[in-house]
């Protein structure tokens, strides 16, 4: 019994360490190994105000406009699993030798996406 205490503490420490690591990973908005969608810990404002056009061709005026939240670190797949057609348009980049493609069909849903390729945080937009 006397020797079981340190073992329990070690296990507890391991669990705490794992929870802290996962919390830190989630909070930092990094992509997890499974490639599921993770999000930044900061949330976007619901609206922003400033000198803008409220509609295409409209005048510059002081307005408040809605903000749409976009995916942060969206999942990705290898080319064979993409289900894209030959003539689908993509935005392609190569960062530190890593090629990555963003189908315009997805980017145009959100207009901008927050991703990371290698160590570089990128914002593909269309």
């Amino acid at each position: 019994m006397k020797e079981s205490k340190p073992i329990k503490i070690t296990l507890l420490q391991s669990i705490i360490t794992a929870v802290l690591f996962l919390t830190a990973l989630s909070a930092s908005g990094q992509k997890d190994p499974e490639g599921t969608v993770s999000r930044s810990d900061l949330k976007p404002p619901k609206t922003v105000s400033g000198l803008m056009q409220a509609r295409p061709g409209g005048p510059l005026e002081e307005v408040s406009v809605a903000v749409h939240e976009v995916p942060v670190n969206p999942p990705s797949v290898i080319a064979q699993d993409s289900k894209l057609q030959d003539d689908d348009l993509v935005l392609g980049i190569v960062v530190a030798g890593i090629p990555m493609a963003y189908p315009i069909r997805y980017i145009s849903l959100y207009e901008v996406v927050d991703d990371r390729v290698g160590e570089t945080p990128v914002a593909p937009t269309w």
Binding site: P45, P74, V112, P121, A123, T125
Partner: protein, 194 residues
């Protein structure tokens, strides 16, 4: 395509539904500054006038991209059953449209780039008539301009063969931000070369 960084500070962007010069705007979660998509600079808020670094990218067809980068990964959005989101549908798993236009309106589209203070725009319709790849000097730098009609794309490389920062844009949008931009004309260019 931008790097989400300025002065070692990382930003997370969302889509703000207003416009400036009819161009899209982003807002960052960290400072709530508003940024212009085409200009790549903050237009208001604490980060006003801060420029984002452009990441050289290429807009092209999936087929063409895969020819160049067969090991590429690709962003993929799907619902819980793995059904893809389809173009212009916010509903996951929506059936693929029965008729989908194969045409892409390239009448006002072109390759746009800036070297230093000098901007240039290469309309696709003019590149179709040019001898390719096209040698062209912008801002004192000699570039090679490439165009592939079947892949609906154009891009530029420098003397080392590296991709140069460009954007595919509509002429009116590019000129709103760069009114002094050169506009490439195939016939004029041919005459100058003779």
């Amino acid at each position: 395509m931008y790097a989400r960084k300025y002065a070692d500070r990382e930003f997370t962007f969302d889509f703000a539904t207003g416009l400036i010069k009819d161009n899209l705007l982003f807002v960052d979660r960290e400072t709530q500054s508003i940024w212009s998509q085409l200009d790549g600079k903050a237009v208001s808020g604490p980060m006003k006038e801060s420029p984002l670094q452009v990441v050289p990218s290429m807009q092209t067809t999936w087929k063409h991209w895969l020819e160049m980068h067969p090991d590429s990964r690709v962003m993929h959005l799907s619902d819980e059953e793995g059904n893809s989101y389809y173009y212009r549908s916010r509903k996951p798993g929506a059936p693929k449209p029965k008729t989908r236009s194969k045409k892409h309106d390239t009448s006002a589209l072109g390759l746009a780039l800036k070297v230093g203070d000098e901007a240039a725009f290469f309309p696709f319709s003019e590149l179709e008539q040019a001898t390719l790849p096209l040698k062209f000097e912008v801002g004192g730098q000699e570039l090679l301009i490439h165009y592939r009609k079947d892949a609906m794309t154009a891009w530029a490389t420098d003397s080392a063969g590296d991709l140069v920062t460009t954007v595919l844009a509509y002429k009116f949008g590019w000129l709103d931000f760069n009114p002094a931009s050169k506009i490439f004309r195939a016939k004029e260019n041919e005459k100058r070369g003779k």
